[in-house]
Symmetry: C2
């Protein structure tokens, strides 16, 4: 089947399928005589795997690792689990950070009238924080 149909079946855009191939996440697709890429059910299954893994927030780097583990029938499941748990820990860390930011923002917004008046504790605090503000954190 053509890339369009593979895209539709897998839920991965044609653009991304070509991109994944170009960066080596996927093997080079078979080509027809006219130069068109040619996909089978096997390839669509891989694309779906990629899409689902991406949907869970894994980076392409991690997807690549998971694809390798997937095709390695003898891999210890430990490795997969470790990857999943590292990802969970990462999500937890990011949520904690976002929560801290929210807390600060809520505190600020609470004291802001939010009406016609011009005095605004939010801006005042951004200009010179009264240590209720969260500390900077590594971004990712």
């Amino acid at each position: 089947m053509n890339i369009g149909e593979a895209s539709e079946r897998s839920g991965v855009s044609a653009k991304m399928i070509r991109y994944y191939e170009s960066v080596g996440l996927l093997p080079s697709a078979a080509r027809r005589t006219n130069g068109y890429r040619d996909y089978g059910d096997q390839e669509v299954a891989v694309l779906q795997f990629v899409r689902r893994t991406r949907n869970l927030g894994f980076s392409l780097e991690e997807v690549s690792t998971l694809l390798a583990l997937w095709s390695d029938k003898k891999r210890p499941s430990r490795e997969v689990k470790r990857l999943a748990e590292a990802h969970i820990a990462d999500l937890e860390r990011r949520i904690r950070e976002m929560r801290a930011v929210m807390k600060t923002l809520r505190g600020l917004a609470q004291h802001c009238h939010g009406d016609e008046r011009s005095d605004c504790p939010i801006l005042d605090d951004l200009a010179a924080p009264r240590r209720t503000t969260v500390r900077p954190t590594k971004r990712r």
Copy 2:
């Protein structure tokens, strides 16, 4: 003072200070006769405002708006509050999404032995999900 000192005092890297200027977030800095940028306490205060606002996760676009509101003494505080609350809502949405993903991942990881054995429900599920998986969501 030179850009290096302004950077140190504000916590914004020299690289970023130049970048912010280049994209119009900040006005062009004054220059010495030798071409070096020259900063005063005023400018450092602005840089600190930017850094703090960035630390709260606002985009440069939003920082720009907040800077404008900050310098407009007559703005209604409503506008600032609205921006802050929109940002809070955005954080909430993203946290909800990440939580859903975490739930899925925890469920998968739980059923994976994580030892020498090779069978792994995580990979199995990525290959063909048994509808405990989160649905795709708009990324941002």
